[in-house]
Symmetry: C2
Subunit: 350 residues, 2 copies
C-alpha cells in the first residue's frame, strides 16, 4: 500500500481522488491541498485529510506519491519542489508550457532518482486501444493515412483553457493527447510538421486546430480539434494498404474492412459519372472484393496507469508513460507553435 | 454556330465530343485528330470528320475552337501552336506540368488575343456548387475549417496517370480540381501550404496525398485524395462559426445544421466520460440548440462551361475559367511539389 496526496483539488484533482479510491486499491489517497479555500471544502466529502499547505504534504514522510493537478504554468516549479522533497510525482498534462521547462524537471528527476510521469490518461481510451490493436495485429497492412479528430461545439475555451498565461489553448489541452497517441502508434520519427492554429473565439489562445505530421515510415497523420462542429464525423479514420478502420465516436461504434487477398482493381461498374464528368480512379469498390471484420475487442482500464506507477515503485515494471516520450511530444508542440507563429511548416527529426 | 475540333480522341477527348453533341447545340464538333490510328476509328461512330493531322485542323478556316485532350506533357507546345494558328483553345487539365509552362502559353494567348481556357469541369460538380451556394447565402457563418476529399481504392494509378513524364500523379490529376474548387470558394490569398505526397503504390508518382492550405482570412483547408480507402467518409465537411455542412458522396447526400441564434454554450449533460477520463470541451451538443436546414437546391450544368466559352467568343460574357486563376492554382501546385521534395511547408502569398 502506498500513500498518496493530490496537489490541486479542482476538476481533475477531484477526479483523481475519486477514481483512485474507486479503482486503485493499492493506492491510499491520504489527503490533498489547494490554495483555494472553497476547493478544500471537498476534502470532507472525499474522506481525505485537508493539508494546510504544500509544505505539509512534502514534510509528511508517509506520502510516497503526489499528483500535481494545478494550473499548467505552475507545474514546473511544483514538480521540481516535490522531487527535491523526495516524493515520486505524477503530473497532469500539459506537463509544462514548453520543452525547456520539461527538461528542467527531467534533470531534477535524474538527479533525485525519483519517479516522474505525466498523466497521459488517453493512452487508455478504448478508441485509441482499438487502433493500436488493429495495427499490432496487422489488420490494415501498412498504415499510410491516419486522421484523429475530437469535435466539440462550445466556441471559446472555458476558464484557464482560454488563457495563454495558464498554458491554455487547444494544442496544449487536447493536442498533447492526440499527439501522444499518434506518436505511440507509429514507432518512427516525426520528420515534418505543420499547424493551423486558428483563434476563432479568442484573441489569446488557439481554439480550433489542425496538425499535420509526417513520419519517417511514410505515414501521414492529420489531427483535428474543433469547438464549432455541429456534425461530428468520426474519432479515427485509418487507411492502410490492406484495410481501413473507422471509429465514429467515444462509444467506439465503427467498422473495419479488409481487401480480400485476391481483390481485383477493376470491376464491372468501372466508372462513376458525377454531374460534371467521369472518374475511374474514384469509382466505389464493390463489397464482394472486401471482408468486414469486427473491431478488435479491447477494453481500456485507466487504473493501469496508476498500477504501473506503483509497480515501478516496487521495482516490478518499466514505466509506461516515460519522461523521454513526453519530452518528444513537447518538442513537436514547440515546433507546431513555431510553425504557426512563423507561418510555415518545418522539417524535423523528433 | 461555332465549329469545333478535338485534338486527342482518348477517354476524355471522346467524352468531350459526345457531351458537346448532346448538350451544347451551339457548338458543332466538325472533327478530331489523334496520332493513334485505333483512336481515329471512333470518328465514324461519332459522326465526325477524321482529320489526317493536327496541321489539317489548324489549316481549316472553319474551325473556331479546339479542345486539347492529349497527354499533359504535350499541352504546352500544342496549345501554343493552336493559338498561333489563330484558334481559340480549350485545354484539358492539368493544363501544364508547372506554372512556367503555363506562363509561356499565357504570353502567346495575350499576344494573339485568342481565347484560352482550361477545362476545370469540376467547378460544375453539384457537390461543389452546394458548398459554394451555402457560403454565398451565409448559412455557415464564417467558414473556418474545410475538408474536401475524394476517396478511391484502386491502388496504383492507371495508364499515363502512373508516369511522371506524362504529368501523372494524384496532385496533377485530382489535386488540381480540389485546389481550383477551394481557391474559387475562398476569395483570399493562400498564405501557407504543406503537402504529404505519398508514393504508396508507385516509385514514380504521388498516389495518396494530403494537402494543407491556410488562407489569409483564417480558413484552413485540408484536401485528401486516396486510392486505398475501403470506408469512404465524405466528400466535404465544412465548419463555420454558425453552422456545419456535410456532403457524403457524389450523389450529394448530406446535412446542414445551424446554431440557433440564442444557442447556449452549456447544457444539462455537460460532461462526457470516456474510458480514461472526462471531457467538457468535447461534450456533444444537444439537438435542441440547433436547426437543421435542407442543403441548398443547386443543379450543376456542365454545358455552361462551353456555353460560357461561346458567349465570350460572341463578346457577350466574361470568361469563367480564366488563365490567371489557372496560373494561381499552378503556382500553389509548384509549391506543394517543392514542399514534398524539400521536406517542409512554405509561407506564401498566392
Amino acid at each position: 500500500m502506498f500513500n498518496h496526496a493530490v496537489i490541486g483539488l479542482g476538476g481533475m484533482g477531484t477526479w483523481h481522488v475519486e477514481n483512485i479510491q474507486k479503482k486503485v486499491p493499492r493506492l491510499h489517497v491520504k489527503g490533498a491541498f489547494d490554495i483555494r479555500k472553497e476547493a478544500m471544502d471537498k476534502t470532507e466529502r472525499l474522506g481525505i485529510k485537508a493539508y494546510a499547505s504544500l509544505e505539509e504534504i512534502l514534510n509528511d514522510p508517509e506520502i510516497d506519491l503526489v499528483t500535481i493537478a494545478i494550473p499548467n504554468d505552475m507545474h514546473k516549479d511544483t514538480a521540481i519542489r516535490c522531487l527535491r522533497a523526495g516524493k515520486n510525482v505524477v503530473c497532469e498534462k500539459p506537463v509544462t508550457l514548453n520543452s525547456a521547462e520539461l527538461e528542467e524537471i527531467i534533470a531534477v528527476q535524474k538527479e533525485t532518482g525519483k519517479l516522474f510521469s505525466v498523466h497521459q490518461n488517453r493512452r487508455w481510451d478504448r478508441d485509441f486501444l482499438i487502433v493500436k490493436e488493429a495495427k499490432k495485429q496487422g489488420l490494415l497492412g501498412d498504415i499510410k493515412l491516419l486522421e484523429s479528430k475530437v469535435q466539440g461545439s462550445r466556441g471559446s475555451l472555458e476558464g484557464w483553457r482560454g488563457h495563454k498565461l495558464n498554458g491554455g489553448g487547444m494544442l496544449l489541452d487536447w493536442g498533447i493527447h492526440l499527439l501522444d497517441q499518434v506518436m505511440q502508434l507509429d514507432p518512427g520519427k516525426v520528420v515534418k510538421v505543420d499547424a493551423h492554429l486558428l483563434k476563432v473565439f479568442s484573441d489569446e489562445v488557439d481554439d480550433n486546430i489542425k496538425l499535420a505530421l509526417l513520419f519517417d515510415d511514410g505515414m501521414s497523420a492529420i489531427l483535428e480539434m474543433t469547438t464549432m462542429c455541429l456534425i461530428n464525423t468520426y474519432r479515427w479514420h485509418v487507411q492502410g494498404t490492406g484495410g481501413t478502420l473507422l471509429i465514429k465516436d467515444w462509444k467506439c461504434n465503427g467498422e473495419l474492412w479488409q481487401l480480400k487477398p485476391d481483390a481485383e482493381m477493376t470491376w464491372d461498374e468501372d466508372i462513376v459519372y458525377t454531374d460534371a464528368g467521369p472518374t475511374r480512379t474514384m469509382a466505389p469498390r464493390p463489397k464482394y472484393t472486401m471482408n468486414q471484420l469486427d473491431l478488435p475487442d479491447v477494453r481500456g482500464d485507466w487504473s493501469d496507469y496508476y498500477n504501473n506507477v506503483l509497480d515501478v515503485l516496487e521495482g516490478k515494471a518499466e514505466l509506461i508513460v516515460k519522461p523521454a516520450q513526453t519530452l518528444r511530444v513537447m518538442n513537436v508542440i514547440d515546433l507546431l507553435f513555431k510553425s504557426a507563429e512563423e507561418g510555415h511548416g518545418f522539417a524535423c527529426c523528433i
